[in-house]
């Protein structure tokens, strides 16, 4: 570019700036900074042209680079006030783009705007209106309301339509303007030009959406417009208004259903059809005919090529989900097809509908479909699907699931999906189902075993959480396992070193549990057979069965059980007894033992001495290296496990180097009774069954006596700043402070003595002395007192939900297995709340209601006078009729029609009496009471009308504050 001298003469135009920005080589930010610097100088120029161009450039930079140009606000105002249209326009654009509530110069532009609003040039007025619609503040709106009000009746269409629209902003900033201008806004509905009518409807639509009630009286007007409208845009807005009005006034819905259907049938415009559908789904869902037509149209939408229509079609089906489920089931095929739509937003909508349709009957079918789609979908949508499956199925406490065997398989399948990111939820549900549904534990274990046994799964980090749950499940419910040896093998496979420490620790803990369980089972079986003196025979039996069993488990399972079960029942009568116990719902621990005893029968047949030895060896070989693990958790579990293993081996006299000698087995068996005691002890620790804990469990714990939870802790202060100890000062001086205090507590030193002092002062907030300073036994003393009580309670609450005893396996897919549900358990998933959002009472609608009421009061005043006259007449029929509004009284309908109307009215009157707190004005009173009169005329025949009115009056005064508008009666009867 030219020299600096040239620059001062020739300002860069906007085009130059844009061009420069596009070709700059110094970097955009630097270029912009340079341009800004330039503009700062230019904008101070006295030449308006230079200034205007500078403002224009700033507007450009503000808009596209997000530059703050508030510093230039004053210059913008200068440009705005130019008399030349081209400059003025530049100024106005800059103002409306960059000014905001906090811009100080807004105070200066009131007069400027006023002048421009009144301009003879309609486009100048247009600029001002447009600007006002964007930057209006309460002050501006207040000061300019008269101008806008005048412009509403301008002879120029351009001004009229813009002035009408600007009302929306003015009303929202300055609600008092409604008193002045609302009536005129309503008049605009009858404007000769459709553009102005459109603008008025737009404003009313926007207002009605935020609070529909005050606009009910305008319904006839909207109805008339809709019937005559040929402009789609206008029709859409009108239909939208009805969409919000209908839900608050059922009688209006009855009237409007047919005209809306008419629109749907006759129009060719998809946008209007769609808006009608939306209005039907939102406000007319009680009108079967309308809904049927809407659903039919929706079906067309969803079958369309245009993805827009598919998307909107799906979206507007969802409001029908609860009220008209058939609308969804009828279109199920179309909806499911959308699951593989190219557009993810359509997929998500369709998924939402499908999950909404799930019921107990179709849950399996639906989930299978979703799972199938999940396998072939993109990762993002795949996870949407997974999340939908998991949340739908676990809704409530797995309310929809009857076949848990199937569901745990689904969980297993989900965990294996390569894109699954919901492993935490899978983990939670695997454990949760294990705890809650006893009858499914066998199948759950199978699923978990498969997950654990597949070495490939260990590679995937996303699976680790699910694997952790699986490992926990097999450990915790080892008693239902058919093949503990295999489980231990799976848990100890070499690739487990890929697991994170926390999961690996769970693996080791499960190995411990399974090991203890199987050894214990074996030893017990052995001991009991030993008691009967049949050692040799049974032992042989064991050996035989187990060797075959390990080789070919599935096949041999029933056979071996068949052979040995009777032997066991004979030899161990205890087990029978225990099974009986179980049926009588004994407390948890005993119950668990019962289960053990029962499964011992199956399992012991397959646990041989040889197997136990192999298991020990397996554990020893695989766990020993873990003693050197850098992860503390893993190391500790490993050493626990090995420690126990060693102990057990010691007792049994097993020596690792002579493992395979038959002699060894015999020694082992000789020592089995000692081992039985040890193992029984450990096993009993593991067999305390954890259960689901209610969220409200805490509230069930009674506060122990003497524990003060209510007193304020404020007075405690900080222990270091004990302020008002009388002896302190002197003690400090004498240097005896520490000596004195150290007598109380055994701890010495500054902090501890202060603490002791504090303790002395606020003794209620500390635990009893011996618990605090004494040894650990003392500490546990007060807790132990409560412990039995608490566990009793817990057991009680669990017992209430104890599953009924069933066969060892639930009958497949028939009766729903018992799912433990605590009595006060709440659903962990929130259902979408059905309640509509509360109507907020805002100033705007209150004012509008007032304005509208002013209009109506006149006519009602007339009708009230008629009422009063009529009421003196004793003729029932006469007084009844007179209670109707003026219009109604005039109408010359036949008696039948009127009777129909009257029944509707009287029913509504009763509803109103019950529902509406908003009764209070005289119109309403007379109206409602006369309707009531028609209903209860016999009971009240002897009372004069005046008396009744008086009674109602006083009652309503007492019930609701005065000066609240009637809710229903404001709809002219034209529509009713």
């Amino acid at each position: 570019m030219g020299s600096s001298v040239m620059e001062s003469f020739f300002q860069r135009s906007l085009d130059d700036l844009v061009k420069g920005l596009r070709v700059q080589v110094i970097g955009e930010a630097r270029y912009v900074a340079k341009a800004l610097e330039e503009t700062r100088k230019e904008i101070k120029s006295t030449d308006l042209h230079t200034k205007a161009v500078a403002v224009q450039k700033l507007t450009y930079l503000h808009m596209l680079q997000g530059l703050d140009i508030s510093w230039a606000a004053f210059h913008v105002v200068e440009v705005m006030s130019s008399s030349k249209f081209c400059f003025k326009k530049i100024g106005y654009l800059a103002a409306s783009q960059s000014f905001h509530e906090g811009t100080e110069v807004l105070l200066l532009i009131t007069n400027l705007l006023r002048k421009d609003l009144g301009s003879k040039n309609e486009y100048e007025a247009g600029l001002a209106l447009d600007c006002l619609s964007r930057i209006a503040t309460p002050d501006l709106a207040r000061d300019l309301t008269p101008e806008v009000f005048t412009m509403l009746t301008s002879s120029r269409l351009y001004v009229r339509k813009k002035a009408t629209l600007v009302l929306l902003k003015v009303f929202s900033k300055y609600p008092d303007a409604i008193r002045i201008a609302f009536k005129r806004l309503v008049e605009k509905l009858e404007d000769s030009d459709t553009q102005v009518v459109g603008a008025a409807v737009t404003v009313l639509c926007e207002l009605a959406i935020s609070d529909p009630k005050p606009y009910l009286p305008l319904a006839p007007e909207f109805y008339r417009l809709l019937a005559n409208s040929s402009n789609n845009w206008l029709s859409i807005k009108l239909v939208k208004i009805f969409g919000v009005l209908c839900p608050v006034e059922p009688r209006l819905a009855r009237k409007i259903a047919e005209p809306i259907c008419e629109q749907m049938r006759k129009t060719g415009a998809k946008s209007l059809v769609f808006e009608c559908i939306r209005t039907v789904t939102l406000g007319l869902s009680e009108h079967a005919g309308a809904v049927e037509l809407a659903v039919e149209k929706l079906k067309e939408f969803m079958a369309e090529e245009d993805p827009n229509l598919r998307y909107l079609g799906l979206q507007s089906l969802s409001p029908l989900m609860s009220s008209h489920p058939w609308a969804l089931t009828e279109n199920k095929l179309l909806i499911v097809r959308c699951l593989k739509d190219a557009d993810p937003s359509i997929q998500v909508e369709s998924l939402r509908l499908i999950t909404g349709m799930v019921s107990e009957d179709n849950v399996i079918e639906t989930v299978e479909i979703l799972l199938q789609y999940a396998r072939s979908s993109e990762p993002v949508f795949c996870n949407e699907l997974i999340s939908a499956i998991l949340s739908t199925c676990s809704k409530g406490i797995y309310d929809l699931i009857t076949d848990f065997t199937w569901y745990v398989q689904v969980l297993g399948a989900i965990a294996r999906l390569p894109n699954c990111e919901h492993e935490a939820e899978v983990e939670r549900q695997l454990v949760d189902i294990g705890l809650r549904v006893k009858s499914v534990r066998g199948d759950l274990l199978k699923v978990c075993r498969e997950l654990l046994m597949d070495p490939a799964l260990l590679d995937h980090a996303h699976l680790h959480k699910a694997l952790s749950a699986a490992a926990w499940v097999v450990g915790e419910f080892a008693e239902v396992a058919h093949d503990p040896f295999q489980l231990i093998e799976a848990l100890l496979q070499p690739r487990t070193k890929l697991l994170p420490a926390s999961v690996h620790a769970v693996y080791l803990q499960s190995v411990l549990k399974i090991f203890v369980f199987s050894t214990h089972t074996w030893v017990r079986g052995f001991v009991s057979t030993g008691d009967q003196g049949g050692t040799a025979v049974v032992e042989e039996e064991f050996e035989k069965n187990s060797r075959e069993g390990v080789k070919d488990q599935e096949e041999n399972l029933s056979g071996s059980a068949g052979i040995s079960s009777p032997v066991f029942h004979d030899l161990n009568p205890n087990s029978e007894e225990r099974i009986d116990n179980r049926q009588h719902k004994k407390p948890m621990v005993e119950d668990k033992e019962g289960t053990c005893a029962e499964s011992n029968v199956h399992l012991a047949t397959r646990i041989s001495s040889r197997l136990i030895l192999e298991m020990m060896e397996l554990i020893r070989v695989n766990v020993s290296p873990l003693l050197n693990s850098v992860e503390m958790e893993v190391q500790e579990r490993a050493s626990n496990l090995l420690g126990l293993l060693k102990k057990v081996q010691e007792i049994l006299g097993v020596r690792n180097d002579k493992l395979h000698e038959p002699m060894d087995i015999h020694t082992m068996e000789q020592h089995s009774s000692t081992a039985a005691n040890v193992l029984a002890g450990i096993q009993s620790i593991f067999s305390v069954e954890p259960g689901p804990v209610s969220l409200l469990a805490q509230s069930k714990v009674t506060v122990p006596k003497g524990l003060d939870l209510v007193s304020s802790l404020d007075e405690l202060g900080h222990p270091s700043y004990v302020d008002d100890d009388p002896g302190t000062e002197k003690d400090w001086e004498d240097g005896r402070f520490f000596l004195k205090k150290s007598r109380d507590g055994s701890i010495s030193g500054e902090t501890s003595s202060l603490l002791a002092l504090h303790r002395e002062k606020h003794v209620t907030f500390y635990l009893p002395n011996q618990a605090y300073f004494g040894d650990s036994n003392d500490l546990s003393q007060p807790l132990q007192e409560d412990a039995p009580m608490l566990s009793d309670r817990l057991a009680d609450s669990l017992m209430l939900a104890e599953p009924k005893p069933q066969g060892s396996k639930p009958p497949q897919a028939k009766a729903r297995p018992v799912v433990i549900r605590l009595e006060d358990e709440q659903e962990p998933f929130d259902h979408p709340s059905k309640s509509r959002k509360g109507l907020k009472v805002d100033i705007l609608s209150t004012t509008i209601r007032e304005v509208l009421m002013e209009n109506k009061t006149k006519s009602w005043a007339t009708s009230n006078r008629r009422d009063a006259r009529a009421s003196t007449s004793k003729h029932h029929r006469r007084s009844h009729r007179s209670a109707k509004s003026k219009k109604h009284e005039r109408n010359e309908h036949g008696d039948v029609v009127q009777a129909l109307d009257e029944t509707i009215m009287s029913r509504d009157a009763i509803e109103d009496d019950v529902n509406s707190p908003q009764i209070g004005k005289a119109e309403k009173r007379s109206d409602a009471s006369s309707r009531r009169h028609s209903k209860h005329s016999k009971n009240h025949a002897q009372l004069t009308r005046e008396n009744r009115e008086g009674m109602r009056y006083s009652r309503q005064r007492a019930r609701s504050p005065l000066n609240i508008q009637p809710e229903v009666a404001i709809i002219p009867d034209f529509l009713l």
């Binding site: 085009d15 808009m63 486009y123 447009d130 930057i135 813009k162 553009q195 769609f274 998307y311 937003s345």
Partner: protein, 150 residues
């Protein structure tokens, strides 16, 4: 209500921004970036609506159309009809096309004030003021004439 109208190119560079609700400048830029992130992830055969409740407020939607190198985006709330807004975008683009004779991205880059003028005749304060392209044309031509007459 229409909360904002944006024109940006397929690289995410804004060409025109107009916010009808007052939004601080930094937030505007944030919204623009967020919208681009949404649009750039959407394919050609997707529907023309996208959820914007995380971008500019609850129940907000993007209604957009893709022409050559440009996105025309309207950010609207529940009070607007999506299909009608799509038609409106069509009206907007058609009008621009008439004014610039085969409008392209460069026309919009160099004539941002003219584009604003056109838009102001269609949308005012977040409400649709005119849906007829011919009427818009007429007003815009008159205004251009006034601007030149000095």
């Amino acid at each position: 209500m229409i909360n904002a109208v944006l024109v940006m190119n397929t690289q995410g560079k804004p060409r025109l921004t107009k916010f009808y609700k007052q939004v601080p400048v930094e937030k505007q830029q944030e919204i623009i970036r967020a919208i681009y992130a949404v649009l750039s992830s959407r394919g050609e055969n997707y529907c023309n609506f996208a959820d914007a409740s995380n971008i500019s407020g609850s129940d907000n939607k993007l209604v957009y159309k893709h022409f050559a190198t440009l996105y025309f985006i309207f950010v609207v709330d529940g009070a607007e009809s999506e299909l009608a807004i799509l038609d409106l975008i069509q009206v907007f683009v058609e009008t621009l096309d008439r004014i610039f004779k085969n409008v392209c991205e460069l026309d919009i880059v160099y004539n941002f004030n003219k584009v604003h003028t056109v838009l102001d005749e269609i949308v005012m304060g977040g409400q649709v003021v005119e849906t007829n392209s011919a009427d818009v044309m007429k007003a815009v031509q008159d205004i251009f004439k006034l601007e030149r007459a000095v």
